[in-house]
């Protein structure tokens, strides 16, 4: 019975959305009857009502543009340095053998904890936030670029050799196009890491765009506004995630 229902095309999605609505309605009810303290958890209806106020009075769009600008700057840096780093490691095998594990270790390190150090070096400015995003996103791009270049099929490389391609032509006509889908996986990871860290550091140092907005609203004890701002950041994160996922699928070769 359940299996046949589960096979229905729209039922699972409807169940998910329906459950979310039921949860929100239950929360509203529990807060209204006083079982949950409304000074700790605001009513969902208040959060929805706070959206227009937060968008207009707190200049959410300008803040979004600021955060997007920081994320874009970090992404450009991550792309240029990360892809170049991966290409250099692919080109020089000895260097790859010596440093690949170090890059992997850096990818596993909690780099965002360096933000107080960056505050000292770059000051309490957008540069600190951009550099933090760059630092967080660089390692996966290097590793995925290297992985993509190393995984280029032997037959494609041999085709290039049979055409007597120069090393530069071999790279631009064979290696780079073949590795592009994997490189994009790395770029997507790098962009997501950069965005997470940028919003996080904005929140932590109370400077910049959307992250700072949440911090400010929390310090003003504007609970409904703070929850609305958190929902807005989640929506932005999900949109970026979906967009990059679509791009990745578009670039992925058909098997």
């Amino acid at each position: 019975m359940i299996g046949s229902v589960a096979k229905h095309k729209y039922f699972p999605a409807a169940l998910g959305i329906g459950s979310l609505f039921v949860f929100v309605a239950l929360l509203e009810l529990l807060i209204r009857v006083g079982m949950i303290n409304r000074f700790i958890v605001p009513m969902p209806s208040d959060i929805v009502a706070a959206f227009p106020r937060v968008i207009v009075e707190e200049h959410v769009l300008q803040r979004f543009v600021l955060t997007a600008g920081e994320a874009f700057s970090a992404s450009v840096l991550v792309t240029i340095v990360g892809v170049a780093g991966g290409v250099v490691l692919h080109r020089y095998n000895l260097l790859r053998l010596a440093t690949e594990t170090w890059v992997a270790a850096i990818a596993a390190a909690p780099l965002v904890l360096m933000y107080p150090l960056y505050l000292v070096i770059f000051g309490r400015s957008a540069l600190t936030i951009v550099m933090m995003g760059f630092t967080a996103g660089i390692a996966p791009v290097i590793l995925k670029t290297l992985e993509g270049l190393l995984a280029t099929r032997r037959v494609l490389i041999n085709v290039g050799k049979s055409f007597n391609l120069t090393p530069s032509q071999q790279f631009w006509k064979i290696l780079f196009p073949a590795a592009l889908p994997t490189i994009f996986v790395g770029l997507r990871l790098g962009l997501i890491f950069a965005l997470i860290n940028i919003v996080g550091v904005e929140f932590l140092i109370n400077f910049g765009g959307l992250g700072q907005l949440i911090n400010e609203l929390a310090e003003r004890y504007d609970l409904a506004g703070m929850y609305a701002a958190i929902c807005f950041v989640i929506l932005v994160s999900i949109s970026v995630f979906l967009l990059t996922e679509r791009l990745e699928r578009w670039l992925r070769p058909v098997d």
Binding site: I2, G3, V5, A6, F11, P12, A13, L15, G16, S19, L20, I40, V41, L94, L95, L97, A98, T99, A105, A108, A109, P110, V112, L113, M114, Y115, P116, L117, L119, V120, I121, I192, L195, I196, N197, V199, G200, F203, L204, G211, I214, N215, A218, L223, M226, Y227, I230, V233, I234, S237, I238, F241, L242
Partner: protein
């Protein structure tokens, strides 16, 4: 040409370092970084103490590691992360098993986890402060939320990869739900579980420590932000080195003991 090679080879051997080329390059890179660091430190190009000498950092590292107060803060952070791992890990395990075991639940709810997973969790910290107070509770909650998503998603994914024959064997022995979980599901998806725990530990560590840097009076995160406040750069470098060694070491240990290296090799 061949003769030249033949002649030059023994000479080259006599001059070669008693190291493999990879090790020699690693040593050269480390020496290069040390030299550049010391040169920048001595040059005065940056503000004083922004790049302290390695000797100063070494002294700060020694002072930090021999200070009993450091171990109190380390213990606090370790305690918070351990509790966060238990709460986030177990709830992630339960949700992962539910989603992995039911196609309906997976299609209904897994997308929410999948898309919420990459959101910056630190933005929930003000909410956690309201719910759990300014003490260790809110830091534990931050760690637990961070840890929950990778564990749940890895386990849900791992459960779908289990060989159907194993599940049929369990059912043919009339195993109950608990026996299925402990005898079939968990042993069969050892690698996704360990990978989830490895990823979960990494993000729980970040979540807890970032929360400590924002609002706390104890823990390693507090020490880092305190070092920033009083501009004690050598101590900040020392603390960051200790943190990175612990995080990378824990990651490598879980990977190695969990047999994740075997997966990569195969």
């Amino acid at each position: 040409m061949v003769e030249t090679r033949g002649l030059s080879l023994p000479a080259a051997r006599s001059w070669a370092l008693p190291l493999r080329p990879v090790t020699a390059l690693r040593v050269a890179i480390v020496v290069g970084v040390v030299v550049i660091w010391q040169a920048i430190s001595a040059s005065g190009w940056l503000y004083r103490d922004v790049v302290p000498s390695l000797l100063t950092i070494g002294r700060a590292l020694y002072a930090t590691l021999s200070d009993p107060i450091f171990y109190f803060h380390l213990g606090t952070t370790a305690y918070e992360i351990a509790i966060a791992m238990v709460i986030g890990g177990l709830s992630g395990l339960a949700v992962g098993l539910l989603l992995g075991g039911s196609r309906l639940l997976s299609r209904a709810y897994e997308a929410y986890l999948y898309y919420l997973g990459p959101c910056p969790k630190i933005i929930f910290f003000p909410v956690m402060i309201m719910w759990f107070g300014v003490g260790p509770g809110s830091k534990v909650a931050m760690g637990a939320i961070s840890c929950f998503f990778p564990v749940a998603l890895n386990i849900a994914g791992g459960m779908r990869e289990i060989d159907k024959v194993l599940i049929r064997v369990g059912k043919s022995f009339r195993a109950n739900t608990w026996q299925m979980v402990t005898k079939i599901y968990l042993p069969a998806m050892r690698h996704p579980v360990i990978n989830g725990v490895r990823l979960g530990l990494g993000v729980a560590l970040i979540g807890t420590l970032l929360a400590e840097t924002k609002l706390s009076n104890r823990g390693i995160g507090f020490l880092v932000i305190q070092a920033y406040s009083i501009f004690n750069m050598p101590q900040m470098y020392a603390l960051l080195i200790i943190l990175f060694v612990i995080a990378i070491g824990a990651n490598a240990l879980i990977g190695r003991f969990g047999g994740l290296d075997d997966i990569k090799a195969s």
